[in-house]
């Protein structure tokens, strides 16, 4: 293979990887905020799936990508609100709530989509995906230029989201309070700040990001909706948070590992490879397991993660 062809192959895998990185990165940043506040929201995958579906339906009905994205974010926020009500106010086991949300979203989206297909024939059930925006000059960089700077608006949003959240968490008073909430909520309560309101906000933000991540899957990069479209990306986002050791700056790096693995698999589908297709499909999940086993989960985990706060 010539150098030129290899270069083109690398560039194409890289471009696909950045496209696939977007949903995982957005969902992971949302989950990170929620977990730093002490709440493990395991409903990410279901919330993402709902964002996918609602985004698709609204885009189909209105033809407006902005409306679709707004609706997906709103759906995520509502599911976040439901989760917050259950785990913060009612103090139901966080894991059980997350599981219930996942099952509910997976069943409801499948039901609603089939209802939709009874009205709209499947060959017409597609939307116009977001068009890539080319950033002048930067997109002309060799090799990485098109991959990084010829993407949809949602990818650029993901780029700025990470430093914004990192700055907010580590350099603002509200961010300090949120981090404290995950370590020792009693301190926040004693300082006269509301634990409940902050945790609600963190979970709703996480939900909004999961909804946005879902929209980036359906409206952002594909023309269609498919049942179980997330394929476990929400769970990968949770693994990203653990493997990034709850540090926002590390989130893009870990997420990129998964994105590259997925991109390689898609590339291998078109060019063929010696490794069986099923092995490549399983690779992101095996890598996630390896990351979980290698990185000791206990290292920088928020001390109060998963524990409901009761004022005594």
């Amino acid at each position: 293979m010539t150098d030129l062809m290899q270069g083109a192959l690398v560039a194409s895998v890289l471009a696909a990887a950045i496209r696939l990185l977007t949903p995982i990165l957005i969902a992971a940043i949302g989950e990170l905020v929620s977990e730093r506040s002490g709440v493990m929201n395991l409903g990410v995958d279901g919330t993402m799936l709902s964002g996918c579906f609602v985004g698709f339906i609204v885009a189909f009905a209105t033809g407006s990508a902005a409306a679709a994205i707004a609706a997906a974010v709103l759906t995520g926020m509502l599911l976040g609100l439901l989760t917050a009500l259950a785990v913060v106010t009612l103090r139901i086991e966080q894991f059980v709530v997350g599981l219930a949300v996942n099952l509910l979203c997976s069943a409801l989206t499948a039901y609603a989509f089939r209802t939709f297909l009874q009205v709209v024939p499947s060959e017409r059930a597609y939307v116009t995906p977001l068009a890539p925006l080319r950033i002048p000059v930067l997109a002309d960089l060799p090799l990485v230029g098109p991959a990084l700077f010829q993407q949809t608006a949602l990818t650029y949003l993901a780029y700025v989201l990470v430093p914004l959240v990192a700055f907010w968490l580590h350099r603002t008073h509200a961010g300090l309070q949120l981090r404290c909430l995950g370590e020792n909520p009693k301190l926040v309560d004693m300082a006269g700040a509301s634990v409940v309101r902050r945790r609600y906000a963190a979970i709703v933000f996480g939900g909004a990001m999961a909804g946005l991540a879902g929209a980036s899957l359906s409206v952002g990069s594909s023309m269609r909706f498919v049942e179980e479209m997330t394929g476990g990306r929400g769970w990968l986002a949770i693994v990203v948070v653990v493997a990034a050791n709850w540090k926002p700056a590390r989130v893009p790096l870990v997420a990129l590992v998964f994105a590259v693995l997925q991109a390689v698999q898609i590339q291998a589908q078109t060019t063929g490879s010696a490794v069986p297709y099923e092995v490549l499909l399983a690779l992101p999940y095996v890598a996630a397991l390896a990351l979980m086993v290698v990185f000791r989960a206990s290292s920088r985990m928020p001390a109060a993660l998963g524990v409901a706060y009761v004022r005594d």
Binding site: L90, A100, L103, L104, A110, Y111, A112, M292
Partner: protein, 360 residues
């Protein structure tokens, strides 16, 4: 921290039996789930007056329908028992589906190896192999949790995906297939098929396996040292370590048992229902089993009832799709709604009772 899956509901001064309160909570959440379903049907433009009777008729309308309902409950009983064992120890495994799939793979291999020739052992041994496969798949997350502190929820979810790709790989590359284009293997030898109980119905000896498993699990949980260890481990792992309960060993054993039950479920599905490997083997019995176990409050006898109800929803939804045009996935939505309603209802009742205890 809320431990609502473990503790009995608080006893009330004027002595309403706790079992009655639990029953009331369950009935209340069923009704709430049903009410939301009706709203959902109306919102999506279907007539509940057509859909719900069709659902009932499809589940219990005749001998054949009832037999189908019972047959569909069998796999749910096993995955729900597996869930009950793990959750009583507060080990939150979500790996039922993956363990079921690996169990089915082991069963297939054993059935092919025996070739259907050794009498009843042609299906008994593959059943055992299935349990073994599920147990082995279950040990991985237990080991990672005990040794490396890996969260078992996340690891079991990831293993489910790996298991399904393993199944796809096995069907595509390892199994005998007459039609290479379809993603399904040839049937296992006839001698390995589970003997049917009633001719022309899907009822087979799997029913007895499920009932047997429920009584064994119920007895072990209520009356054995292991059952006690399990609850002690779940309510306070630190204290149970001082009592001499080895946490690594207990975690591994619980996942072994839970995985074996799921593997057995996969084996029954393969030898009793599908007879061949296909993606239909991973049809969601794992997740449904989790909901069944929670609605039954992790009680093995309650599991039988809840599984029957979910079997009825599965069977009935097919008829509902045919008669009223409502997508059969509504059944799954109803199941998830019931779980959510149950969580909220139980909590509400608990709060009200606790309040009344304070007032007294």
């Amino acid at each position: 921290m809320s431990t609502q899956l473990q503790q009995p509901l608080p006893s009330v001064a004027f002595a309403v039996p706790p079992a009655l309160i639990t029953l009331a909570v369950i009935v209340l959440s069923m009704l709430a789930g049903l009410a939301i379903t009706v709203l959902l049907l109306l919102a999506t433009g279907y007539r509940p007056a057509d859909a719900l009777p069709a659902l009932w008729a499809g589940a219990f309308g005749g001998a054949h329908e009832t037999a189908e309902t019972v047959a569909r409950a069998v796999p749910l009983v096993l995955t729900a028992l597996a869930t009950s064992v793990a959750y009583r120890a507060r080990l939150w495994s979500v790996g039922q589906e993956g363990q079921l799939v690996v169990g089915a793979l082991f069963t297939y291999a054993a059935a092919q190896l025996l070739g259907g020739r050794v009498g009843p052992f042609a299906w008994l041994l593959p059943l055992g192999a299935g349990a073994l496969g599920g147990a082995l798949w279950g040990v991985l997350p237990a080991w990672w949790k005990a040794r490396r502190g890996v969260n078992e929820i996340i690891s079991t979810v990831l293993l489910n995906y790996v298991a399904v790709y393993l199944l796809t790989y096995a069907i595509a590359h390892l199994c005998e297939k007459a039609q290479p284009t379809y993603l399904q293997s040839d049937p296992v030898p006839g001698g390995a098929w589970l003997p049917t109980l009633v001719a022309d119905t899907p009822l087979n000896v799997g029913l007895f396996v499920a009932l047997g498993a429920a009584s064994v699990v119920a007895t072990v949980l209520a009356h054995s040292a292991f059952g006690f260890e399990l609850r002690a481990f779940g309510s306070n792992p630190v204290a149970s370590r001082f009592k001499g309960i080895d946490s690594v060993r207990t975690t591994v054993v619980i996942f072994l048992v839970s995985g074996a039950l799921c593997g057995l479920c996969g084996a029954l599905q393969l030898l009793g229902t599908h007879q061949r490997l296909s993606l239909a083997v991973a049809s969601g019995a794992g997740n449904a089993g989790i909901i069944v176990a929670m609605l039954a409050r992790l009680n093995p006898w309650g599991v039988l009832l809840a599984a029957l109800m979910f079997g009825a929803l599965d069977t009935g939804s097919t008829m509902m799709q045919l008669e009223a045009g409502v997508p059969s996935t509504l059944a799954k939505a109803m199941q998830a709604l019931m779980l959510l309603c149950f969580l909220f209802c139980e909590l509400a009742v608990r709060r009200v009772l606790a309040q009344r205890d304070c007032d007294d």
